[in-house]
Every structure is written in C-alpha cells, then in structure tokens.
Symmetry: C2
Subunit: 304 residues, 2 copies
Amino acid sequence: MSTLAWIAVDWGTSSLRIWGLDKDANTVFEATSNEGMASIACAADFETTLLSHIETCLTATDPVTVVCCGMVGAKQGWHDAGYQSLPINPLARQQVVRVPATDSRLQVWVVPGLCQRQPADVMRGEETQIAGVLAQMANQQAFSGMVCLPGTHSKWALCDAGEVTQFATFMTGEMFALLAKQSVLRFSVADSDWDAEIFKAAVKEAFAQPASISNLLFSVRATDVLGQAAGAFGKARLSGLLIGLELAGVLVLSEINQVHLVGGSELAELYQQACDALLIDTQVHSGETCVLAGLKAAYKQIVS
Amino acid sequence: MSTLAWIAVDWGTSSLRIWGLDKDANTVFEATSNEGMASIACAADFETTLLSHIETCLTATDPVTVVCCGMVGAKQGWHDAGYQSLPINPLARQQVVRVPATDSRLQVWVVPGLCQRQPADVMRGEETQIAGVLAQMANQQAFSGMVCLPGTHSKWALCDAGEVTQFATFMTGEMFALLAKQSVLRFSVADSDWDAEIFKAAVKEAFAQPASISNLLFSVRATDVLGQAAGAFGKARLSGLLIGLELAGVLVLSEINQVHLVGGSELAELYQQACDALLIDTQVHSGETCVLAGLKAAYKQIVS
C-alpha cells in the first residue's frame, strides 16, 4: 500500500467524500458519508467529523495537508473561504484559504467559491470541478467552451482562453423537487413511470416556448385530470419541461453547440438526453475525476 | 327584512362564502367561513357544513334552491359536476348539475367547470366569475377581450363574441408560495420589505427575458449573498419575476392591450401594478360582484 501524501475532501450540503492520496495522487483510501454541511451542528463539528474518518491515518509527527472544496467553505460552513471574482482560471489561480484547525496533525485548506457581480451569481464547489474539466483539456490555456454542472442548482460556466468569464445558476433541480412533491402536480407525478420520449418532447416544448412555462407546468396536471395523459408520465414531462426551460435560458447567455457536461449522476444523464433532443453535442466528464483533478490543482498551489 | 328566495354559495378549496338572497338578488344574510373543501373529510360533510350556516332560514314546507360554484363540484368535492367544453358562453349555457342532498328542505345545484382539450386545461369556480364579468358588459353577446382571474392558479380567459374561446392556467401563486417558503430563496425573502419599484422592475425583467426565469429566480439569493440587495426586497423581486413571467406567457396566447381583471384581493392589486408596468390597460371588476352575478345567471337557468 502506498504512503498517504495528502487528503482531498469534497464537502457539500448533503454529502462528504474523502480521498486519501499518495504523492502521485493515487487513491490510498476513500470514504463516503452523508455527513454533509446540513447535518453538522456547528463549525467545530466539521473537524470532529473529518477526524472520525481519517484519524487512523494520522501521525503525531507529520501533519497531513487536507484540501477541501464545497459548502464547507461557506459562511455557515467550517470556515468562510469567500469568493473569487471573474474572470478567473480556476485551475491556476485558486486562492485556497487556510482553515484554523485545532488538531496539530491537520493542515486544512478550503478552495474559495466564484462570484459574478453582474448579473449577481455565486458558486461554491463547482469551481473545483470546472478546474478539473480544464485539467483534462489538451490545451488548457486556450480552452473556450461551455461547462455544465447539473445539480440541485445547476451551473453553466462559459470559458474563454482558459478562464471562466461568465456563469449562471439555474434553480431547476430545486424547482423540480418542490413541484413534484409539494405542488398540485404531485398527484400527477408521484409514482409515475418514466418515458424517454415524453421527456424529450417536453424538453423541446419548453425550449421552444419558455415564456409559457408556468402554464406548461399546470398542463401536467390538466392533461391528467382530463384523462389525456397516455400512461402516467407526469414525472418525465415535469422534468423535461424544467430542463428544456433551463436550456432556453442558457441560450440567452451564449450560443451552445457543444457542452462539457460534468457527469456521473442520474441527473447528468437527463441533461445529456435533453442536449441530444436539441441537437447539442455533449462531451461527458466524470464528476469524480473532475473534483479530484481540481483538488489536486489546488494542492499543487499549496505545496509549490 | 326581505324574504329569502334562494342561496348562492362560492365553495372553494380553502374558503366558503354563502349569500342568502331575495327575489331581486338583494342580500338577506351572508356568511363567510374557512370550511373550504380541503377541511371537509367526506362528501356527506358538505351538506352538514352548509346546513350549519343556513338551517335557521329553512322551512319544512318550502325547499330552498342553493346554487354553488367552485371546488364543491370537483370529483373530490360534494358532487362531481364535470366540465363543459369550449367555446362556451358561461353566462347563458352553464349546465348546472343537481346534487343529491339528503335534506328535503334543500335543492342544491352546482355549476360545472370548463375544460379545454388542446392545450389541456381546466377551471372550476372561475367560469362563474367570468359569467359575472360578461353580465356586467353593456353588450354581452358581442364582448371580446381578455379576462384575468388572479389566484393560486391564475386563469386567463380569451373571450370572443360573448364566448370563452380559450384559456390558460398559470401556477404563479403556488410557485411563489413554494419558492418563498421552502426553497433556498426563503433566506432572502422571509420578512423582507415591499418596494413597488423593485416589484415593477422585476416584472419588466422577467417579461423581457422569460427564458431565463430559473436563473433570474436564483439571482434573488445571489444578490443577497453578495450584499448587493439594496434593502431586503427579495419578496417584491420574487413576486415581480413570477408575475412578469406569467404576463410573457399570456402574450404567447394573445396580444393584450386591455385586461378585465377580477379584483378584490391583494394579489389582484399586484396584477394591476404589473399590467401598469407593462402599459397594459386594466379594467377591474369586483370579485364578489362577479361571482354573485355568475351564480345569479345560473339560478335564472334553474328557475326558468
């Protein structure tokens, strides 16, 4: 077994992933937990939680460097790492922030988020995945294109010459969850089957007619009430309408012919299908590979 | 005190309004309660609830006619009154449905809803208010125009030559409630002040850029996180964005220069302000007058 050199941590709202890495960034150990920020009572508990997963690997003499990204660096997280402004190359200029850990065996750093002043927008955690996407490019300094990071709040980042120049957050995932579980649509969405064709048709419909979205959403219910829903495909239709709306919104930001999609989730697969339906080419990058590559870039800056 | 001739009832999801009327439709008594459909356990309880409000006015010898509109006529209400198809003149052709009441002192009728097959849409209760709007027109048979009925699910009905030819439901109110109370926006909306200018600016912004709505919604939070929110006006901005989006959607349905707005609620006032911001002329009709005029038209058909 190779020797632990440093620890990479992706600490989001609802989950925690830890990788112990050797000097060549090969994985020595790995841990996954649902101890996300939302389940942690106070700032001090972040350190205790982290220690519970890595304590057996620590030595008294040689402090280990821990590089974290995600909501752990939010105001309500372990330590406020702030935001860096655009334009930025998140691969080269992540100004990691030192976290005041109490255990002397730890040297903890957090990657800051990104912010955009006009129009106002913020991200935290996704900047590390974007850095990871850039790290995988043959010519990182010259990379221009659109990166999509699906999630509860999906992010679309426009890159130009290796820098993030603009980005936008869409509340699609959160809107889906609220509408599917708590609105009048829940009667037509709960336990409904999935149909890829219904999904794609809904993507195209909302993309073509985004202004009508709050009417199209009600149609999920009305179609069902009038017995016109061929099978119970409310979920596919609701999901397709909201993702189609998002893609129409992205088009306002920039033309999109090709998207670098950070994948690995069920949701990312839906985004890929939605792009397919709209004839947008997708190049899928593994989410895990991206976050690790981004954290590795941050680690390099710390030790260099 | 004049003699009770018949009883008008507006029975919605969350409220119940009862008017005892004489032969000239003057109010003999009036009752308001929060015993809406949502608070009633089973179909039989509708009759008990109604009786609790009107029993003292009933006589053993002479059954009274009760004309109801609203969710009371839904499948999950007192008695399923079904839907009538478009095009329809809801003032002249409301095919009221007899409800099998057990108390012989009651003759209860319910006004059916309206349905549209393509695109699928339904309304229940609002058709009676639309009939009321028509009843107030100098030339009902020739009336053409757009009627707007704000609510949790707002309805826009396009009338032509005295008939409803098309309508659309928008989930604006329900989306506002979910986003304001349960999404990440709640931190920037709760206890926020109201500012009419912020509201109007947001109406215009979403109206001009409806495709970006799920990004604009997130901006309510991002502006606040970045300390750019001048005062805490998240509520006005959220409300304005969603109503502006709705108006953009109405524009897909039809050009709108003038709107007949069924008013009397705080929400209706916001719709009026939103129309003002977009230079759409509004003519406001009292909601109570409309529902009573609509129920009166239904009563006329029963007794004629």
